[in-house]
Subunit: 359 residues, 2 copies
DNA sequence: GTGAAAGCGCTAACAT
DNA sequence: ATGTTAGCGCTTTCAC
């Protein structure tokens, strides 16, 4: 690995021209004669200089050619969440078209100032994806004046926002269950706050949640439950500490201990639902005969699952595409057409939910 | 969105101290008194300056705090390939631990000099993942002296390499099929070259492939076929132009037209295999009764598939982790312990392959 | 413990 | 059509 990166100046000196000529050869072909430009580019290539240094260019121009993404907590989790992968794909697609790099920014564990750093010049705009209401990263980005859009959470954020109507979606699945005749329900919830306590969460803890999508979905369930004349306080809520089948499994095991046993499980994500199904099966319960399980997200695996999961569809890919497009508008200095875009969800009735047993 | 990003100088002036003091407050806490540091940091925070400008810092220091990834062709495809997603997750995990950003670098369609640009200072190291032998991007990175490691392809690359023994893996599945009694085989191949012609590929075209993993897998199949005393030229090879179920579907439709009909399909990826299964089913063929189908990769969906896919397992996640670790060593200036790491594959016998019918 | 000054590599305004 | 020049915002000796 050689030491120094070739520079414009070097190339210029070798050719006996000025740096700006070399710079122009790269940036403004029309500013010099065709032949000179070719000579310059050839010499540059020979020296391994395929383009001007990015850091210097960014510093000088005051902007880079990249978008950043910040995801809740551990960045690597984004890749184990099929929904997040689709969102990222949508974002990437837009970046690709705009020939922009995509910078995945990890959250450092340390709570230093550095930790919330999202300096301009390394990215021109930022997508803050699914972050807690009290996450300092949003404020940091905003005070820096970095063009920022929020995806999903926090819902109440000041900057442009793209997400779905979580409450409506969760209410729809829950009403479906209630409509089927279920009266004993239990919820497998996503994270309630950054503390991620996990386990059974009483109403007080539910109320203190700082993940606004979680809050909204919980509210949707609750509305449906109370709409059916049932008492929300009888509905057990288990907080999963991460979106994984493992947690869904653990949650179901816990919830199914309750007596009389719930006849339906409302999982806040499909992955949690899948894990719950496994747990139920391990307990000898057939789905949907002995137990109904519904999810949320409609990840690709939901339809493949046995039995196919009844769930709430949301346009992940679209969400990503639109979010990236919105940041681009912001970066370009345009006033975005739509400051808040709430994308529709749709109940997907498949076969993991059926009327409760012995009825 | 405010105009300018706050600077160290501004903060320094407001406080009546020098820029270097502010810089020290961020970078070398021990260089100033505790109280001054606190005052500085407070003032900085008030101005929305959470950290020094990244571009300026990178320029000055000669390095950034990021790794880059370049993936074949369209970056967004990486997110629709479950194997690639796992590799990215592995990479991300290592980045996270090292508190490094991950830059996904799109390939620009234009074949300009700019297109192959991977300037230092925006990334400290580069992972070139699954790229054609003749892809100019590798040479560009190398002549720039950017610490680079290759994952999967090209296999013969000069820089450190991490991948699997493709030939051994494909040979193993194919021998499995031959051992089951299959004599009429057909192959659904991954891309043969950057041109991506698609469709049936004769031996000449097969031989001209510039994707070295594809070449190796093809060779593995061939060895197994010839090892059984069969003639490779009777084995139809269909080139898929992308790794998708769709292409697998199209390929199978084509290959199953041949008479006598193949009794087994060797798909070079699980996604192609899944698509092939769908096509076969559409033709009224039961798997594995009427047709055996095997894949490669052992993506998570392979085991979930109906029927569970017989395939070749490879450690995607591990590959990503190790690759990122290797770049890190290079960046640190260390001579890497292992310059070439060939990770093991393992045949996973499940139920999508069985003895051929009427035998 | 704090400040002054040089310069990282580049671009863009201005000269020629 | 090409060159000169002044910084972009920061880090880092080196003085004090």
């Amino acid at each position: 690995m050689s030491a120094r990166r070739p520079t414009l100046k070097e190339t210029a000196d070798a050719l006996g021209v000025s740096v700006s000529t070399v710079s122009n050869a790269f940036n403004r072909p029309d500013q010099l004669s065709r032949s000179l430009r070719e000579r310059v580019l050839a010499e540059a290539a020979r020296r391994g200089l395929s383009a001007p240094d990015r850091a210097a260019r960014s510093l000088r121009r005051g902007r880079s050619v990249a978008l950043g993404v910040i995801y809740t907590d551990r960045l690597s989790y984004a890749f184990s969440d099929p929904g997040a992968v689709l969102v990222l794909q949508g974002i990437t697609q837009t970046c690709e078209q705009a020939e922009l790099e995509l910078v995945l920014i990890p959250r450092t564990s340390v709570a230093s100032a550095e930790a919330t750093s999202v300096g301009r010049s390394i990215v021109d705009g930022l997508i803050v994806y699914s972050v807690a209401d009290d996450d300092p990263v949003l404020a940091a980005a905003l005070t820096q004046g970095l063009p920022t859009v929020v995806v999903d959470q926090p819902r109440a954020a000041g900057p442009p926002w793209i997400g779905i109507d979580d409450e409506q979606g969760s209410r729809a699945v829950c009403e479906h269950l209630v409509g089927l005749g279920h009266r004993r329900l239990a919820v497998i919830s996503a994270e309630l706050d950054r503390g991620r306590v996990g386990g059974l969460a009483n109403p007080a803890r539910q109320a203190s949640s700082t993940f606004s999508s979680t809050v909204a979905r919980l509210r949707g369930y609750r509305r449906a439950v109370e709409g059916a004349g049932l008492d929300w306080s009888t509905v057990l809520v288990f907080e999963a500490v991460e979106n994984s089948e493992r947690q869904g499994h653990a949650a179901a095991l816990m919830l199914l201990k309750d007596r009389p046993r719930p006849t339906a499980l409302l999982a806040m994500t499909d992955q949690l639902a899948v894990g719950a199904c496994q747990a139920a099966r391990g307990l000898g319960l057939a789905i949907p005969r002995d137990l109904s399980v519904v999810g949320f997200d409609d990840i690709p695996a939901a339809a493949q699952h046995q039995p196919p999961l009844t769930t709430v569809h949301q346009p992940h890919h679209e969400k990503g595409r639109l979010a990236a497009g919105l940041v681009l508008e912001l970066v370009a200095g345009q006033e975005p057409v739509a400051h808040r875009q709430e994308l529709p969800t749709a109940l997907r009735v498949r076969s993991s939910a059926a009327p409760p047993p012995n009825r």
